[in-house]
């Protein structure tokens, strides 16, 4: 088992984001072996004697320096920071949680106009619009992009949703009654 750990570590550290599939193909191991190994590596690097950690971002595994060493690492590395305003963040959250949504639906959620925020978020590459040709009137829908997952450092949207529902502290039996947004 130890050798798999070393193999997967070497692969991820020298690759630029590898999926479980990539790792299976490269190492010739099966899915369970890879998943188990990823867990072990994640566990190992979560210890405080490590300054880097394993993350699944948009389905791809990479190592990142831990946020607590940001000040230190930023002395040698630069990151371009794009500031997101509160209102943009709100619109982004509405789309993230309920996508796909039309502009009208977003505005209904928020209770006010948000054309500007939507435009800005598109130009930041965090959301994009798509057209649903099947629907009447060919309306535009807004959805989050892969860049959104990358900006948040999460593997997929379910990460976000699960945690949110857990945090709202609603008992299991009630939660099931909540109307599910598609």
């Amino acid at each position: 088992m130890k050798h798999i750990m070393a193999e997967v570590e070497a692969l991820i550290m020298s690759g630029h984001g590898l999926t479980v599939q990539d790792l299976m193909k490269l190492s010739g191991r099966n899915r369970n072996e890879i998943l188990e190994t990823l867990d072990q590596i994640e566990e190992e690097y979560s210890h405080e004697n490590h300054g880097v950690e394993l993350k699944n971002v948009a389905g791809k595994y990479s190592f990142f320096t831990k946020a607590e060493y940001f000040d230190l690492v930023s002395k040698i590395r630069k990151k371009s920071v794009s500031d997101i305003t509160n209102s943009q963040m709100q619109v982004l959250a509405i789309i993230a949680y309920n996508q796909p949504l039309t502009l009208k639906e977003i505005e209904k959620f928020r209770g006010s106009a948000c054309t500007n925020q939507v435009k800005e978020l598109i130009s930041m590459g965090l959301i994009r619009r798509k057209r649903d040709k099947a629907k009447k009137g060919n309306p535009y829908f807004y959805v989050t992009t892969e860049n959104f997952l990358k900006a948040l450092g999460i593997s997929d949207l379910s990460d976000l949703k699960e945690e949110v529902v857990e945090n709202t502290e609603i008992p299991e039996n009630v939660r099931r009654d909540v109307p599910q947004e598609s």
């Binding site: 550290m13 990142f64 990151k79 709100q90 450092g153 949110v164 945090n167 709202t168 909540v178």
Partner: protein, 226 residues
């Protein structure tokens, strides 16, 4: 509990409602309006009535709550229960949204502080991962040659463009028909020009202008020149 809230403390009436629901450890979906209406009204009355637009939202909510509360006490009809459920559902959606916004914000801020890393593959082999060996060989020859002559290396930015170099090398080879690669490279004044010269040779090979005779010699391609 301090009730001197300014309207700025809550972005909207749902914020205040959610605050009270949480304070009473109530589930948003099992909202019991009668239990929190008085408090809600108290907060709204304590607000600065400066921002009419914001406060009107609170006042509207307060009156809705009061209406539901009184009707619940007097006559808890199906209609009024549905009204309460409607507010409960909206409140739940609002709390999800608030939670999501916070979560997105936190994740964004956190990941902003993380740098991706990438490791160089095993360094001993890395050196083997280089340009084609003939390139290496020639560059090394040039290096030795130049060390020997201890020339003055002056890098002039615009002395040689690639096209000029091609013409130079072409005429050189046309003259002698057959040349050692090393001799062609040696016409260069410095290392970087040597690189350009070598690439020129490769380009002429690609164009079939010349052919490789042995590993170190090129000849004019007679077929090409008719």
């Amino acid at each position: 509990m301090d009730i001197n809230f300014h309207s700025g403390n809550f972005e909207g009436s749902f914020d205040l409602l959610l605050f009270l629901v949480k304070k009473h450890k109530m589930n948003p979906l099992e909202l019991r309006i009668s239990e929190i209406t008085d408090e809600f009204v108290e907060y709204v009355e304590g607000m600065d009535k400066v921002d009419i637009e914001t406060t009107s939202d609170f006042i509207l909510m307060a009156s809705t709550l009061m209406e539901i509360k009184s009707r619940m006490i007097l006559n808890p009809s199906r209609e009024v229960i549905e009204k309460q459920e409607e507010i409960a559902k909206q409140l739940y959606e609002y709390s999800l949204l608030k939670e999501t916004t916070e979560k997105v914000e936190n994740l964004y801020d956190l990941h902003m502080k993380e740098f991706d890393i990438s490791i160089v593959p095993s360094f001993s082999r890395e050196i083997n991962d280089s340009l084609p060996s003939v390139f290496m060989k020639i560059i090394n020859t040039v290096k030795q040659e130049m060390n020997l002559r201890k020339r003055v290396y002056r890098i002039t930015k615009d002395l040689y463009s690639f096209s000029k170099k091609i013409e130079m090398v072409k005429s050189l080879i046309l003259k002698s028909k057959r040349m050692r690669i090393r001799d062609i490279i040696e016409t260069s004044d410095d290392k970087l020009e040597a690189v350009v010269t070598f690439v020129t040779i490769l380009e002429l090979l690609r164009l079939n202008f010349i052919l490789i005779d042995s590993e170190e010699t090129v000849v004019i391609n007679e077929a090409y020149h008719g």
